[in-house]
């Protein structure tokens, strides 16, 4: 994909709309008037408009003791695309990251039924109608127990030109809805840090309880994510780091694939490989506790090897954890109780550094 095209598709680093001021040409009265209009009136108009919010659903797991957040995911196809394209948030549950399952499945099903690439909108309708007819036939046959063997489905396509002989599987019948369109079965799963960032920092997402349908407000969400309220609770420590790198322009994604906590991308996965692999290390005011929790050199050599082997630099992100987090009135105050400091570790080859 050319750089130009990538910039067109992924044009926003965050899912918040921005209206830049036009250039001001001082001696041109039209330019000045337009500028003033944009500067003064547009915000006034916007003030009345509520920002369009995306929707997510939160699943809770409840045991005898308490409730825990099991997952936070986005259902709607449009919202998923928005979140991915504007900042690379989340992961498609049926994809490697970019939620493309619906597109890929549609393509696969078209190929399976012998269709060629779509050329014109009219043809789209025609094909869709034909597909609907085939779907109904196949469903009827399946109900009669005829299509238990996938090879039998070839009989269904007997009327079609045998472009590709991939048979429709029985399972594929369930993928289409009554209109013959591919159902949207994929969700975009958000990490807890991403969800909190979108809800609290950007105010771009409304999260609803999956069972009850109630809106999960930010304070309630924080309580669910930090049930034990200890200063070194892993959600809040990891959130501090997530927010830190996001706020300085990085695209932050989960790093478990490389045995690290986070990966930092300058713009996002389609543009280049991640540059940094971040490990989060909580730091206590009690120095002997810090001493006790130190990792060994074998660990760091191993992580460095994995991360370096895929062309990234290892970052140790130390988070100073406050002794007590009882006294805060705003989330901002809570977050400001923490402090971040980073060091990088890279492999050094002496023989390559002689000149």
């Amino acid at each position: 994909m050319k750089k130009r095209n990538l910039n067109a598709i992924y044009h926003s680093p965050l899912p918040v709309e921005v209206v830049a001021l036009p250039p001001l040409v001082p001696h041109n009265p039209i330019s000045v008037a337009y500028y003033v209009y944009q500067l003064v009136f547009v915000p006034f108009l916007w003030g009345f408009k509520r920002r369009r919010r995306l929707t997510a659903y939160l699943e809770l797991y409840t045991d005898s003791v308490s409730s825990y957040v099991s997952s936070i995911a986005v259902d709607s196809y449009e919202d998923m695309q928005e979140l991915w394209k504007a900042g690379f948030f989340g992961k498609g549950t049926q994809s490697r990251s970019d939620p493309t399952w619906a597109l890929r499945t549609a393509k696969r099903l078209q190929e399976a039924s012998g269709e060629t690439e779509i050329v014109a909108p009219e043809e789209v309708t025609a094909r869709r109608r034909a597909a609907r007819k085939r779907f109904k036939n196949a469903r009827a046959l399946a109900e009669q127990g005829v299509l238990s063997n996938p090879a039998d489905s070839e009989k269904v396509e007997a009327n079609e030109e045998p472009r590709r002989q991939k048979p429709t599987r029985v399972e594929d019948l369930a993928l289409r809805d009554s209109e013959g369109n591919v159902r949207q079965l994929e969700k975009l799963q958000l990490t807890f840090q991403e969800a909190f960032f979108l809800a609290y920092a950007l105010d771009i997402i409304d999260i609803y309880d999956d069972r009850t349908g109630d809106l999960v407000t930010v304070p309630y969400l924080l309580g669910l994510l930090m049930p034990d309220w200890s200063p070194d609770n892993s959600f809040i420590v990891n959130y501090v780091v997530y927010h830190h790198y996001r706020s300085h322009g990085w695209c932050v994604r989960n790093g478990v694939k490389f045995g690290v906590d986070y990966l930092l991308y300058r713009r996002g996965p389609p543009f280049s490989h991640a540059e940094f692999g971040v490990i989060v290390i909580p730091l206590y005011s009690n120095e002997s506790k810090n001493q006790l929790m130190r990792r060994d050199w074998y660990w760091s050599s191993g992580v460095n090897r994995v991360v370096g082997g895929v062309k990234k630099t290892m970052v140790l992100c130390y988070v100073k954890v406050p002794d007590c987090i009882d006294k805060w009135h705003t989330v901002e105050e809570l977050l400001k109780m923490y402090e971040v400091r980073e060091v990088v570790l890279r492999r050094w080859i002496p023989s390559r550094n002689r000149d």
Binding site: V256, F258, G259, Y298, W299, S301, G302, V303, R305, V306
Partner: protein, 259 residues
């Protein structure tokens, strides 16, 4: 001169807390008969300006020294004490002039020449009387997770070397490292010791990326040994008359990618 005593034990030099072997014959015996290779850590005099091929001495890990002593194959020599007599000097009684004369004598009786350059040679091993240490000097190594997994693999015939480069405690080779690649990145753990999922993922990925598996293992305490019956890991191997290794359990992790 061979650096062994009448009982034919291999001498391992203990200097400043580390274990070395300086005698080439001992190095051969260790490698050929006991599959203990160690790491060469000295400059190779023939080609001194590179660090790919190194020379004597061989450095051994404490686990290697401890196992050899436990097996009755080697003994530990306290080289510091052994050489004290030769090296000692009374600060108030230094007679440098005499020393210099003696040195001149020693040097002029070196390799004789006729118009050729005189060459000066340094021997690898010394002829001092040795003071050996008892087995208790290495006993601290026994009963550690590192030693347990080292012993387990050594009994199965593996060559084992330090594993820092791959983030593990050891590397295990199916044969002489000169000819074979290592198969496992090894980590010994205590039976109840925890390790993080991230470490499992990272190590498994690292291993698979270099065509090795990550192996983790530990000694099973007596109370839990009945659990081993359920695992098929307790094959007894005939090896040097030692006790069986049924009380050790190990697992290997490899990366599996879908799609």
């Amino acid at each position: 001169m061979v650096d062994n005593d009448a009982a034919d034990l291999i001498s391992i030099s203990f200097i400043d807390g580390e274990y070395f072997v300086f005698d080439i014959e001992a190095v051969k015996r260790l490698r050929n008969h006991h599959h203990v290779a160690g790491i060469l850590v000295g400059t190779l005099p023939q080609v001194p300006q590179q660090s790919t091929f190194l020379g004597l001495p061989v450095q051994l890990m404490p686990e290697e020294a401890a196992l050899l002593v436990q097996r009755g194959v080697a003994r530990i020599i306290d080289e510091g004490s052994s050489h004290e007599v030769i090296l000692a000097v009374d600060e108030n009684d230094i007679d440098e002039a005499t020393a210099k004369l003696k040195i001149n004598e020693l040097e002029s009786t070196g390799s004789e020449s006729q118009g050729q350059l005189v060459s000066f040679t340094t021997p690898a091993i010394s002829t001092a009387n040795r003071i050996a240490l008892s087995e208790s000097s290495v006993a601290a190594v026994y009963d550690t997770p590192r030693f347990d997994v080292y012993k387990y693999l050594h009994k199965r015939g593996y060559f084992i070397s330090p594993g820092l480069r791959f983030g593990s405690q050891f590397l295990a080779y199916p044969g002489d490292p000169l000819r074979y690649h290592s198969h496992y990145l090894v980590r010994g753990l205590g039976y109840g010791e925890e390790f993080s999922l991230l470490e499992l993922v990272g190590s498994g990925r690292l291993g698979t990326g270099v065509k090795k598996a990550w192996m983790v293992g530990g000694h099973v305490p007596d109370d839990d040994q009945h659990k081993l019956a359920a695992l098929d890991s307790s094959k007894i191997i005939e090896s040097e008359g030692d006790e069986s290794i049924e009380d050790f359990v190990s697992f290997c992790v490899e990366w599996a990618g879908f799609g």
